[in-house]
């Protein structure tokens, strides 16, 4: 049995929960972080020195950092399906995972905090607009990459789709004013038809 520590509305928890669900793995999820707190206790910090969510436990093994957790699950339980075996394919998937973490997460956090967690009167609309613009330019890169492909690596869902795909729900819901990106929209449509995505990503944005 796997344990995932983290509240369900966190994007980084969703990455791990969605991955586990695609692999048909059962998870005992524990509410910590946000209103639940619990991230600064010595016990939690012993599992996750960074004091963030998610943390994954598989038996005696503890892993932190959302992408590392997702890659572990895919490598351990999804060889040849979510986990590409060929090093070049794996690198392409890896690149889109890092892209979410190093490029997309920053501006999308500004959009999300601005529109969802900040009272309307206090919103810095100029900063939110600029971050929405950056996010859109980044998703335009993925739109281009997806031309002629159903998923990031081609015909089937892999680990490379997961972080960018989890964030796509927020992007589509929060950045409504955007040019048409047909490849991205078709890919997003494929994600939203998956039960695991609906159950773990398409949750109220709070």
């Amino acid at each position: 049995m796997l344990t995932v520590w983290g509240r369900p509305n966190s994007i980084n928890v969703q990455i791990v929960m969605w991955t586990a669900a695609e692999l048909g793995l059962e998870v005992d999820r524990k509410d910590v972080g946000g209103p639940f707190g619990g991230l600064d206790t010595p016990e939690y910090l012993a599992m996750n020195p960074n004091g963030r969510i998610p943390t994954l436990q598989d038996g005696d093994l503890t892993i932190w950092e959302s992408n590392a957790c997702a890659r572990y699950l895919a490598a351990k339980y999804g060889a040849g399906s979510l986990w590409p075996e060929d090093p070049a394919d794996r690198a392409k998937a890896d690149m889109w995972m890092d892209w979410k973490k190093t490029s997309l997460a920053g501006p999308m956090t500004t959009v999300f905090w601005g529109l969802v967690r900040t009272p309307e009167a206090e919103r810095d609309m100029a900063a939110i607009g600029a971050a929405a613009q950056t996010s859109q330019a980044l998703y335009a890169m993925l739109d281009k990459w997806l031309a002629g492909k159903d998923f990031v690596l081609g015909d089937s869902l892999t680990i490379g789709d997961i972080p960018a795909g989890a964030m796509a729900y927020r992007f589509m819901e929060l950045v409504k004013d955007r040019p048409s990106m047909p490849n991205l929209e078709a890919w997003y449509g494929r994600l939203t038809s998956r039960q695991a995505y609906r159950d773990h990503v398409m949750l109220p944005i709070t």
Binding site: L61, S66, M97
Partner: protein, 198 residues
Amino acid sequence: MKLLGRSSSINVRKVLWTCAELGLTPAHDETDTDIRALNPKGLVPVLVDGGLVLTESNTICRYLAAREGRHDLLPETPAARAQVESWMDWQASDLNTAWRGVFMGRVRNHPDFADPAVQDASIRDWTKQMRILEDRLSSTGAYAAGGDFTLADIVLALSTNRWERTPMDRPALPAIAAWMDRLSSRPGFSQHCRNGVP
């Protein structure tokens, strides 16, 4: 194989050090002229290996280790691999965003980061992050992922070199200092990591 990107970038230096560990000598183009055609974000490094074009420094380091079958640098078993990747992912996200204010303000002299309050907040955050690494290294007594040198040490040492060379007050972090000494005999360390460039 060809690597694009100027060697003032710590992300390019991660790849150069990894190549030194692997005994690879890709052609290195420092001019950054073709970057946008290969990476619309305009960021370096970019690695071209035949038909494969890769961006993202940590992705490139992992790819090269896998390509060369160097499971000592990036283990094959999922559990051991995850220990290396947690630290690499943390370097690329929380650690890497912490230094921006003070590094851009004081080393690059970028006007957007001239505000001392912005620089001080960055120093506090960066110090907090470096203490996480300090605690980790004092508990392993060796390397970031445990007893052995891995890719995690390469990416973290480049951040640490920047920490040591950015003009600011910083606490002594003895486990980190001892680990940097331990790394100093690695191929590539003095050329690409502790080479006088922050």
